[in-house]
């Protein structure tokens, strides 16, 4: 296994070199807001025990709003101008596994039959340096949905804490291998020492539910009164969907910038909004909040797995931590698993 040893100094130098080379460097911000851009002289801290940020790194691959093309009124008709994104090469530094895993999961829906180049260009231009996660709370459940705190899924390189305070970096993908060659001179090479033998770094969160059982129950209980009970206090905001690393529903709207000319925008949307499924005729198959909440849970744990072979959830717990009324998706999955038995 290829491994580098990175000290705090060499990490700082690494970031400075990346920025000097014109790359964008993103890392989870100290204030917990999300993945933010690092400046060359920002103090870089890789802290495996920090809590997940409020927002995931989804926005980097799938922005909350982006232009799909421009339309311009010309000669009595229109001219369309593509706006495929020009993405600066980017490094995401210290992506936690529950975020890195989102890339593979989202790639399924963004590439089946029709390839979404807006998403793909961003993925292709990004190197993900994952990080072993030592954070645990009652809302995490990565191991229940096929993840783990040491999972390398979605990472090109992977950081593990060493017992002397330095970091070990493993090469995971060919892209990672190619990328790191230019910066290898900043690091030491070879077997650097034992990974940190701290219990929480290596102890896996216990599996809280069986995702297959949850899926089975959902598929057979479309009309169950449980859906109303579970969503009774839900306010119908979209914080859960927007904070989620893998929720991807979107809206397409036209916005004029000047008279007759403007942009067709793609914006985050959510099945939790009341108007999401409202037909032009006024008919709304999901007029009740409970129906919308059923869709959320069912899509994540039954429909997406059925279609694409992946649970549409990485167990990061952001939705629960952020929910203004504390609705707990992990607890719901556990309850459903219990009912399935």
């Amino acid at each position: 296994m290829n491994e580098y040893r990175i000290t705090q100094e060499s990490l700082q130098a690494f970031v400075a070199a990346l920025v000097a080379d014109g790359l964008t460097v993103l890392a989870e911000a100290a204030d917990g807001s999300g993945y933010a851009r690092l400046a060359a002289d920002d103090r870089v801290a890789i802290d495996p025990s920090r809590a997940p940020s409020r927002l995931s790194m989804k926005e980097h691959f799938f922005p909350k709003s982006e232009a799909l093309f421009e339309y311009r009124r010309e000669d009595g008709g229109f001219v369309l101008v593509d706006r495929l994104p020009e993405v600066r090469p980017t490094v995401i530094l210290g992506a936690r596994p529950c975020d890195a895993a989102s890339i593979g999961i989202l790639s399924k829906v963004f590439n089946w039959d029709y390839r979404d180049e807006f998403f793909n260009r961003r993925v292709d231009a990004t190197i993900v340096i994952g990080m072993l996660c030592a954070y645990r709370d009652e809302h995490c459940f990565c191991t229940s949905v096929g993840g783990a705190p040491d999972s390398i899924a979605g990472s090109d390189l992977f950081l593990v804490p060493l017992n002397d305070g330095a970091l070990g970096m493993r090469v995971v993908s060919d892209d990672g291998e190619r990328f790191v060659t230019a910066y290898a001179h900043l690091f030491e090479w070879g077997a650097p020492g034992d990974p940190l033998q701290v219990d929480e770094a290596l102890t896996l969160p216990s599996v809280r539910f069986d995702a297959e059982k949850v899926r089975g129950w959902i598929e057979g209980h479309f009309d169950d009164p449980y859906w109303s009970a579970a969503s009774e206090t839900c306010l119908g905001c979209a914080r859960c969907a927007f904070a989620c690393p893998v929720c991807h529903c979107f809206d397409i709207v036209d916005e004029d910038r000047t008279y007759g000319s403007g942009e067709r925008m793609r914006n985050w949307d959510a099945c939790q909004f009341g108007m999401f499924t409202k037909h032009a005729s006024g008919h709304n198959p999901r007029a009740a909040r409970a129906q919308r909440y059923r869709q959320r849970i069912s899509h994540k744990f039954a429909y997406y797995p059925s279609r694409f072979g992946e649970v549409l959830c990485t167990g990061c717990g952001r939705c629960t931590r952020g929910c203004p009324v504390g609705i707990d998706i992990g607890a719901i999955a556990v309850e459903i698993g219990g009912m399935a038995s």
Binding site: D254, R264, K278, H279
Partner: protein, 277 residues
């Protein structure tokens, strides 16, 4: 690198007002090369753009056997359809497509066809009717049962007259009770009731049904009672759609994407869907 969200440009060549609130646009691609390449099958839909207002989803109402003009028919409902009604001959709109699956013409070969439609639901069926009529020798007897709320709400009236005059095609037009007027000599009654009255033979026949949800709900049992099995009843589903490409999540019913697995479904497939549409 293809921008899958980018439409082709179309020019409006002709506008036909079917009813006070339903209009048909006859369109041609701006670029003859695109026109040359464009292929679609009956039942597929497209996303039509009014630039500055947005997109909306309609079936392609013209038959693939008549590719000179692409037609769409729409009712005024909201922002985009209202803006569409303000457009004139010569104006530009966008078209993305064709998307979705299509009517199973192969399976329909050699069989009698029963077309049942209500209101603007005739639009996707009309595409298939012309497709079948243009390839007449491939199919058996053709029955068309069409109804609307009132005489004024009947769409494609010229074509209803044309079909009525054809031999080998039986055309029955009905209006809802109360929707008739002086001089109306068609049927009076809801579409499901007229289907029951006409009682088309199920033997070696396929029924294609499209209309408002309530009409479909009451027509299905009538067809079942007449002996049509679930695979021999085909419908096309309207659902709120956005991207048409299976990505935005808007049209999902269970694990089915209406924009990719539909909009054409057999009654068998429809029954397997959760009641989420």
């Amino acid at each position: 690198m293809t921008n899958i969200y980018r439409p082709e440009l179309m020019v409006i060549r002709e506008i036909i007002d079917e009813t006070p609130d339903t209009r048909t646009l006859r369109l041609q691609f701006r670029d003859p090369e695109v026109a040359e390449r464009f292929r679609f099958q009956s039942g597929q839909f497209a996303e039509y753009s009014v630039f500055g207002e947005g997109e909306c989803t309609f079936c392609i109402a013209s038959s693939p056997t008549r590719p000179e003009m692409i037609e769409c028919s729409f009712k005024r409902f909201g922002r985009v359809t209202t803006a569409m009604r303000r457009l004139n001959v010569g104006d530009t709109i966008g078209l993305r497509g064709p998307y979705g699956n299509y009517f199973p013409l192969e399976r329909m070969k050699g069989r009698d066809l029963v077309f049942i439609a209500g209101g603007i639901g005739l639009a996707p069926v009309r595409c298939l009717i012309w497709n079948a009529l243009d390839l007449r020798e491939r199919f058996g007897a053709i029955t068309i049962i069409y109804g609307a709320r009132s005489v004024d709400d009947l769409v494609y009236r010229r074509e209803l007259d044309e079909w009525s005059a054809m031999s080998g095609v039986r055309t029955i037009v009905t209006v809802d009770p109360g929707g008739e007027r002086e001089g109306w000599n068609g049927e009076v009654g809801f579409v499901p009731a007229i289907v029951e009255k006409i009682a088309p033979a199920a033997d070696n026949a396929i029924a294609v049904v499209c209309g408002p949800p309530v009409m479909i709900r009451y027509t299905m049992p009538v067809l079942t009672a007449l002996g049509f099995d679930d695979e021999s009843i085909i419908t096309t589903l309207e659902n709120r759609m956005k991207c048409g490409l299976g990505k935005c999540g808007r049209c999902n019913i269970g694990d089915v994407y209406v924009c990719k697995d539909g909009p054409v479904f057999s009654y068998q497939q429809l029954k397997a869907l959760p009641e989420d549409y």
